[in-house]
């Protein structure tokens, strides 16, 4: 006999909560509504059983014996696990960091502290006239973003959808899959994003445009009552991490309509980590990458991350010299090199918890099948207790 449940997907920071999962004999047989990425995640097989008690004891031992441990990753785990990881860092008096400042500079801190105006994806679906994908490629990283929120759907005040009611543009250094779907594509040379911002605000204030495309885009901005910039790491690189320029540009746009920014974060719960650090009144102290490079870390607890695939080799090779513990549902190049791997379940599939979508809206992740694999939260709680 099969049953069908509706689940929330932790495949990316869209946290789609309309995933139809068909379960037969305690196994997921079919996944509906999910994109390719989401479906792969739900159809993940379980890991072979291992001695969890021994693994947790070993993790505690490594962390206790370390002189300068650090905790890293955490963008792909639940809010509950993030809170416990923050407590572990307090207990050990050690550094804790995710990828937010590595990938987006100060952007997320500026958004959560309201220095940059933001809105929810539901507001976008219901009200947005213009969606600007700047240095972000939703079609590759958050594949259902355009169909659920930013371009194609009918919204409360956007009944005619993308055909008549919405304008979407991609600004990027290459024609990405998102650029192919959007109505317009503006190619920007690497590092020329600040100059493009100057030009756009210049045209809006009456200066002659440098191209027809820019004139058209500026006219769309003028027509819009509600616009959103979906900012990716490409924009942050293009701005050379200059957040003042971004704030200046947002203020400039807001003279013509309501303009907001949503960071297109990579990990499904990166926004959650930044919020949890703020709530715990903690700031990122130091830099995990610099400490790794300088030999300032002798043990790393890595949760839900694969630094061997995300960091340049000059940094990731340092993980081979120190004690590395990885807590992750997946096998990755980092689990290959780790001294200790603790395989956990996937939140929303095997385990429960909660997470924050890219816009800061919290979602519950309810497990859809029953497996014995422990959650990140359960493993981290036991480590904290053992310390």
């Amino acid at each position: 006999m099969s049953t069908q449940v509706t689940a929330t997907c932790p495949g990316c920071s869209c946290l789609c909560d309309d995933i139809e999962v068909v379960i037969e004999e305690s196994e997921i047989r079919e996944v509906g509504n999910a994109c390719r990425k989401g479906a792969s995640l739900f159809l993940n097989p379980d890991h072979p059983a291992y001695d969890l008690d021994a693994a947790i004891d070993e993790a505690i031992e490594i962390l206790k014996n370390a002189k300068s441990p650090a905790i890293f990753g955490l963008d792909n785990t639940t809010i509950e696990a993030q809170r416990i990881a923050i407590k572990i860092s307090e207990k050990l008096g050690c550094m804790i960091e995710d990828y937010s400042s590595i990938r987006y500079g100060d952007l997320l801190n500026f958004v959560v502290s309201s220095r940059i105006k933001t809105c929810t994806l539901d507001d976008v679906r219901d009200r947005a006239d213009i969606s600007i994908f700047w240095g972000s490629d939703a079609m590759s990283s958050q594949p259902r973003h355009l169909s659920r929120f930013s371009y194609f759907p009918r919204g409360e005040h956007k009944q005619k959808g993308w055909e008549f009611d919405r304008y979407a543009i991609s600004i990027d250094i290459y024609r990405s899959p998102t650029a192919k779907v959007c109505r317009e594509f503006l190619k920007v040379s690497p590092g020329q994003d600040p100059a493009l911002m100057d030009e756009i605000l210049g045209i809006l204030s009456g200066k002659p445009p440098g191209s027809k495309e820019l004139l058209k885009f500026s006219n769309e901005i003028k027509k819009a009552d509600f616009g959103v910039i979906f900012a990716g790491s490409g924009l942050i690189h293009g701005l050379n991490r200059d957040m003042d320029k971004l704030i200046w540009f947002m203020e400039g746009l807001n003279e013509y309509g309501e303009f907001y920014l949503i960071p297109m974060v990579k990990g499904y719960n990166m926004r959650g980590f930044v919020e949890m650090m703020k709530r715990a009144q903690r700031q990122i102290e130091g830099s995990f990458l610099r400490a790794l490079l300088d030999g300032g870390i002798d043990a790393a607890l890595i949760v839900g991350a694969d630094p061997m695939s995300d960091l340049p080799y000059s940094l990731s090779k340092k993980l081979l010299d120190i004690q590395t513990i990885v807590i992750d549902p997946r096998d990755t190049p980092t689990t290959e090199i780790a001294d200790l791997v603790i395989h956990t379940g996937i939140a929303g599939v095997d385990n429960g918890g909660s997470a924050m979508r890219m816009d800061g809206v919290e979602f519950e992740l309810v497990p859809c099948i029953k497996r014995d694999t422990p959650s990140d939260e359960a493993v981290l709680t036991r480590i904290l207790e053992g310390l």
């Binding site: 994109c35 995640l41 500079g105 594949p143 995300d310 997946r330 096998d331």
Partner: protein
């Protein structure tokens, strides 16, 4: 001998590597296994058609990419888009072998300068890249 083998090596060209997300590769990574498919989708550089012609690289041919950070052998694939002088690679242990760390900003640049040449043996295995050199 080293001099002779260097002489018979295929010519090298300058290339910029742009690290970009690829839905097929990230979906494969979501499966949570270091599978052959994941390796095939990671050990790849998408090249501009005109560049491929100019550099005598055929679709599916192995190519060597290298710079001061490291060297990898990956599959060269023809891109559907025009991007002269730029090769597109998904984020993975392969592209990270060429990437550098900007110590001043603490960022990892998305664009990397490298050189490319035809051939040089088999595609580098993921597990080989996990070892320390």
């Amino acid at each position: 001998m080293a001099g002779i083998s260097r002489l018979i090596q295929a010519p090298e060209y300058e290339i910029k590597i742009l690290i970009i997300s690829d839905i097929f590769q990230s979906a494969e990574s979501c499966r949570g296994r270091i599978s052959r498919e994941y390796q095939d989708l990671s050990a790849v550089v998408y090249l501009d058609k005109e560049d491929m012609k100019a550099w005598s690289i055929k679709d599916g041919m192995n190519v060597t990419l290298f710079n001061e950070n490291g060297k990898i052998v990956v599959t060269g694939r023809s891109s559907k888009e025009e991007h002269r002088g730029i090769g597109l690679m998904p984020p993975s242990i392969y592209s990270m072998r060429l990437a550098s760390f900007d110590e001043t900003s603490g960022a990892i640049p998305l664009m990397v300068d490298a050189r490319i040449r035809r051939g040089d043996g088999e595609v580098t295995g993921i597990r080989e890249l996990c070892k320390k050199i």
